[in-house]
Amino acid sequence: MTQVITFTTTNIRCVQWHDDYVIYDQLSGDTHVLDEVSGGLICALSKQALSRFELLAILTDLFVEATEPELESYLHDFVEKFKLLGLLISE
């Protein structure tokens, strides 16, 4: 049976102004400014853990004209980047 990996964030605060999100990581004390897509995903993850499939579904809604490989690639980069920043945790 395949184990479903879900993603969640560290304890963060999100503020959105127009297309920008400002994220405060309560664990590290770091403040980040993120674009609409990354910020939207991080904020969604701060509310509940989401699987890769669910994250892809959000991206598909945002980028209706993008191909599946493009979305997969974006999600891969997103996960790696935000794991490195310490904001994203896989469970």
Binding site: R13, V15, W17, H18, D20, Y21, V22, Y24, Q26, G29, T31, V33
Partner: protein
């Protein structure tokens, strides 16, 4: 009965002031009660000229900062005299030459507030008010914030602080800490030339910051030291020689990131600091401001505050 209640430092004669400072001068600066004890005679004219409008405290008042300015050792009273700043008997800084006592007092009191007043998010920023709108001007040394602040204050704006903006984490208001405005190097002459009626304290040369002069705060701003203000604009000034006057809107996200970097205690307050700053940014219009001409700057700020 306490005969000190509601009287100002200006009510003391020079000799009374000197005697009082020797034993302990208790006075109010914005939200803070300060006790200054010092045998350094050079401090007397500094306090007399720049702190006349400040309230003396009743005898039983709680004191926030017990400050002493004195020689670090007996020998240093006589041989190449030096002075040290003490808070509760602790000297956080290296001693300075005796002639820099007044500057040391000002810098030391800044340090007291910046290091201890964690009920506020403290932004390294001047803050002035007109028509009920506080304008916050964050900036690193050399950005021209104090010069701009001095020019605005000499033009009738209320001074809340030339150095630190105290944003309450409880009610989101800006609490004043009106103090003498610290000007450096060419800024001193620029402001003296524009407003010869303004009162400066002793000009101190050869400090770590160059030549330093402190400008007397307006009496009305000192008297309003307990009245908070509502922030309306967050403007990052930058003086550059021959620069055209230019006000550029700044996105709220970038403004928050920059302002966080200008705070003394953002990391200490943690999420409370972030929440307070985010609320402040939400209520403010945010700009970058480049200038070289103070007249144009004053006209623009006046227009913004109308």
């Amino acid at each position: 009965m306490n005969n000190k209640r509601n009287s100002h430092i200006a009510s003391l004669s020079k000799s009374q002031l000197q005697q009082t400072i020797n034993k302990g001068l208790d006075f109010r600066v914005g939200q803070f009660n300060v006790r200054l004890i010092s045998p350094v005679k050079q401090l007397v004219p500094h306090i007399q000229h720049l702190y006349g409008a400040y309230d003396l405290l009743a005898n039983e008042s709680f004191i926030d900062f017990h400050v002493q300015i004195r020689a670090p050792s007996i020998l240093r009273r006589y041989i190449r005299p030096q002075v040290s700043f003490f808070l509760d008997g602790y000297a956080p800084f290296k001693p300075l030459p005796y002639l820099q006592a007044s500057a040391l007092f000002e810098w030391g009191l800044n340090w007291c507030i910046a290091s201890h007043a964690n009920e506020y998010l403290i932004i390294h920023a001047a803050v002035v008010e007109r028509n009920g709108q506080a304008f916050i001007l964050p900036g690193t040394p050399g950005s021209g914030k104090s010069t701009l602040c001095a020019a605005l204050v000499s033009y009738g704006w209320r001074l809340l602080s030339d150095e630190m903006t105290l944003l309450s984490t409880h009610d989101g208001k800006i609490y004043p800490v009106p103090r003498p405005i610290s000007l450096k190097n060419q800024s001193i002459e620029v402001i003296k030339k524009r407003s010869p009626e303004l009162v400066f304290g002793q000009i101190v040369n050869d400090t770590a910051k160059g030549t330093v002069g402190h400008l007397c705060p307006p009496a009305l701003s000192v008297q309003l030291g307990s009245s908070p203000a509502l922030a309306a604009k967050l403007i990052f000034p930058k003086y550059k020689q021959d620069a055209e006057t230019q006000l550029t809107p700044l996105s709220k996200s970038k403004a928050l990131l920059r302002a966080a970097g200008d705070c003394f205690n953002y990391n200490i307050l943690g999420v409370q600091g972030f929440d307070s700053l985010a609320e402040l940014i939400e209520q403010c219009a945010c700009y970058e401001f480049h200038y070289s001409n103070l007249d144009e700057a004053l006209a623009l700020f006046t227009e913004l505050s109308n």
